[in-house]
Amino acid sequence: MAAATFRFTIDGIDVEASEGQSVIEACDAAGIYIPRLCHHPDLAPAGNCRVCTCKINGRNGAACVTPAARGMVIESNTPQLTDDRRAVIEMLFVEGNHPCPYCVASGDCELQALGYRLGMVAPTQPYQWPGRKIDATHPDIYLDHDRCILCSRCIRASRMEDGKTVFGFEGRGIKMRLNVDAEGGLGETQMAAIDKAAGVCPVGCIVVKRGAYQVPNGSRRFDKAPIGSDIEAKRGSRKP
């Protein structure tokens, strides 16, 4: 049975949506890109990063966790929201340690790509320089906590897609960290390199060993086109 469809507008553009879709899903399908970081199309949304925050019927809300509804009026691409989103991206840059020039994920990193797309030059806030460790206990995967942005993608993927619950959070507030389901590190968990959880990290925190630099810098996803281009291309191709 096909779900009932209805319409709403975002930045004045008419979008068709169906029952059960979130705002971000409906906009993705319509070829309208809302910047986002923790959201992943294969995973249930969690609303961690708040980058996809839009003004929905006059109130700020995250597009990934807001169900689309008939007649919604949404603002997304406004100077204020762009400023706020850039500020949030900046916060993530200063919270962890993100050495883009020599990071294995450079060019493939969604945090870096959003920094470019939202016009971040250099963080205006102070670096926090947290002391975080690398977990290299697993034969095929290493965890570089310096680069973790606490987006919960791996937590959700491991629990829902892999059925393993390898990851979880630990602590609260600025001391919150990614934790693994074993005292002795990732190597003692059920984690495997082919797991969904190993492939959803938006940054360079969960890295499969022996695969780095197979695609050289300069030829990677976001070296070629800005983040979101794939979604926006859908709209372009639909234009009459």
């Binding site: 609303g47 925050t53 500020a87 200063v94 806030q125 102070p126 942005i149 609260r172 074993a182």
Partner: protein, 603 residues
């Protein structure tokens, strides 16, 4: 040893029916029994509940009152708030450090004591206050400390070394282990209380829909501060489809400076339980839950006694008041030190035995709340109001207060005033009138509704309490001449750093950045550009955060900027730029390592 430990752990898990949703209770008991949550405990609980250890660590590591490593058998937690500092908490802390030979945050070598700060414990009218294993000490002075430490050492020697001293035990022996009644002024809500069943009897004489109608007519709004119309909330919950409906009393009174729920729960618990029972009848709920903040654990026994009596009188249990098919009972859930759990969706997560991370809405708790069932979460005071409304009628209630804010409000006043305590005042009362009653004619600054509320300068003391003007949960902190407003704002900023749950970026990182920005202001090193940037950051955190905590975390800074711009101006560094870190601070580590100061050019 290990076998005994294991069987004790098994018994604890068994006590809660190996129910995953009771994980908070299970861990609470383990903490109380063993003083910490060991690796072995995590492993065993995970096996017995059939969940992953990472899920248990996720929850345990969230709450301030749980710890993974052994700490002192007596945990001395000193309340850290601007009010406690004004009343001498720093001096008391120093006295404890000297008496115990340890610094704050440390555990003594013999494992007897841990000394640490904690967020406001709900005793703002009798600070400096402290919690020692759940026992509350108030109005402390440095002179009390040696005797306290001696008493604790003696009881330590007496106790079975296997078990932690229980909260009730040291009470008799400890000086200052008494809590003064805080009610200064009762109004219509808290006076003329007749029989305890009047409200319930009146409600049961009506149909559930009529009860909700009466509450709606009274225009009662939530007393936690947000002010959602209670009648509407109850109607939504009643109408929502679910296998069970729940009534939840939010007694996680964590907003610094408030203690009125403590007064209600210690002096008027029946009125609160009446209100919950009425809500149960109106919503068609069979289960009521009180989420009691961990700091109020000392109320546990007395509240359980009240519940027991009510069961005996037929006010809880089956066929209440002879009403066929009205079954309702109340369980108390103890929290474990997390301000965020006062946010209703975080409270529900915590009730389910998880970390207190707020949920995204919709769905709202009225549709999917506790265990995904329709749930009405209301403040302690709201239930007390509901009970009186049923007893005396909606018109009686609406006769007090203003058109949009009916009834009275319990206000907790603390700080630089002669008579701190709880005042029941009608909505519409001005700040000036409050200050007159409390004896604070010289106030230079009032913080209304706690750090998440707003700062009010003397020019605005004519403003009044009410949802249409100064919305408040009741916290009213008064600061007199000579107090440093910006230093206080910094302390509030620090509070939000400690209490941010960490789920979303703007609050998790933003609270720390706001505090660092404010530190620069207070140090007199901020430039005009820094202050502008701080304001902009505050606005981003307010607009982008997921829940009320993050959305209001910048308030101490943003509202003092508006109320006291001249104070910020006076602290500005009169230069276009100052570095965030001074050269001296940047080199501190190297100086310590090398053991010599750097040679400066001038020398």
């Amino acid at each position: 040893m290990s076998a005994t430990t294991d069987s004790a752990l098994q018994a604890i898990v068994g006590e809660f029916g190996a129910d995953r949703s009771r994980l908070l209770d299970i861990v609470e008991q383990v903490q109380r029994r063993f003083g910490h949550i060991s690796d072995r405990a995590i492993q065993l609980i995970s096996t017995l509940l059939g969940i992953h250890r990472v899920e248990i660590e996720d929850m345990v590591s969230f709450y301030a009152f749980f710890n993974r490593e052994p700490r002192g058998r007596f945990r001395i937690r000193l309340s850290r708030t601007p009010i406690s500092f004004m009343k001498g908490a720093r001096e008391v802390a120093l006295a404890f450090e000297q008496a115990l030979g340890i610094s704050l945050g440390e555990t003594s070598a013999d494992g007897a004591f841990t000394l640490e700060w904690t967020s406001d414990i709900g005793m703002a009218d009798q600070e400096p206050a402290a919690l020692i294993n759940g026992t509350v000490l108030t109005a402390l002075t440095p002179a009390d400390v040696p005797q306290i430490v001696t008493s604790l050492r003696q009881s330590c020697a007496r106790d079975d070394p296997g078990a932690l001293p229980q909260p009730a035990r040291p009470e008799a022996a400890l000086p200052k282990a008494n809590i003064r009644s805080s009610l200064v002024k009762a109004g219509p809500l808290l006076s003329g209380l007749a029989g305890r069943t009047d409200g319930i009897r009146a409600a049961l004489a009506l149909s559930p829909d009529k009860v909700i109608e009466e509450i709606t007519k009274s225009k009662l709004r939530g007393r936690g501060g947000a002010g959602f119309p209670t009648g509407m909330k109850w109607r939504f919950t009643r109408k929502a489809v679910g296998s069970d409906h729940y009534v939840v009393c939010n007694a996680d009174e964590g907003e610094p400076g408030t203690f009125k729920d403590r007064v209600l729960l210690s002096e008027f618990p029946d009125l609160v339980f009446d209100g919950m029972t009425i809500a149960g009848y109106a919503l068609g709920a069979r289960h009521g839950l009180v989420y009691l903040r961990g700091e109020y654990a000392y109320l546990w026994d007395s509240l359980q006694e009240v519940l027991k009596t009510r069961r005996r009188l037929g006010l809880l249990g089956k066929n209440i008041g002879g009403q066929q098919q009205f079954d309702f009972d109340i369980r108390i859930q103890l929290g474990a030190g997390a301000y965020i759990c006062g946010e209703e969706s975080a409270l529900l997560e915590s009730l389910e035995g998880k970390r207190g991370a707020p949920r995204d809405r919709p769905p709202f708790p009225t549709e999917r709340g506790y265990l995904r069932q329709p749930t009405a979460v209301d403040n302690v005071e709201t239930f007390a109001c509901a009970a009186r409304i049923m007893e005396k009628g909606a018109a009686w209630f609406a006769g007090f207060g203003t058109a949009q804010s009916t009834g009275t409000k319990l206000v907790s006043i603390s700080g630089d005033c002669v008579h701190p305590g709880v005042y029941e005042v009608p909505f519409g009362t001005t700040i000036s009138e409050l200050l007159d009653q409390a004896g604070a004619p010289e106030a230079i600054y009032v913080q209304v509704s706690g750090p998440s509320g707003q700062s009010v300068a003397p020019k605005d003391f004519g403003r009044s309490l009410g949802y249409e003007d100064l919305s408040t949960g009741g916290s009213t902190m008064v600061f007199g001449p000579g107090r440093d407003v910006l230093e206080i704002a910094l302390q509030f900023a620090d509070f939000f750093v400690a209490e941010s749950c960490g789920w979303c970026t703007p609050c998790r990182v933003g609270t720390t950045l706001l505090k660092q920005g404010m530190e620069k202001v207070v140090a007199g090193r901020a430039t005009v550009a820094d202050v502008a940037q701080l304001e902009s950051l505050g606005n981003t955190v307010m607009r982008m955060s997921r829940c009320g905590l993050g959305q209001s975390a910048p308030n101490p800074i943003l509202t003092t900027m508006r109320s006291f711009p001249e104070l910020y101006e006076a602290r500005l560094a009169p230069v276009p730029f100052t570095s965030r870190v001074t050269l001296h601070d940047a080199l501190r580590e190297a100086v310590a390592v090398q053991g010599r100061e750097p040679v400066t050019e001038e020398s």
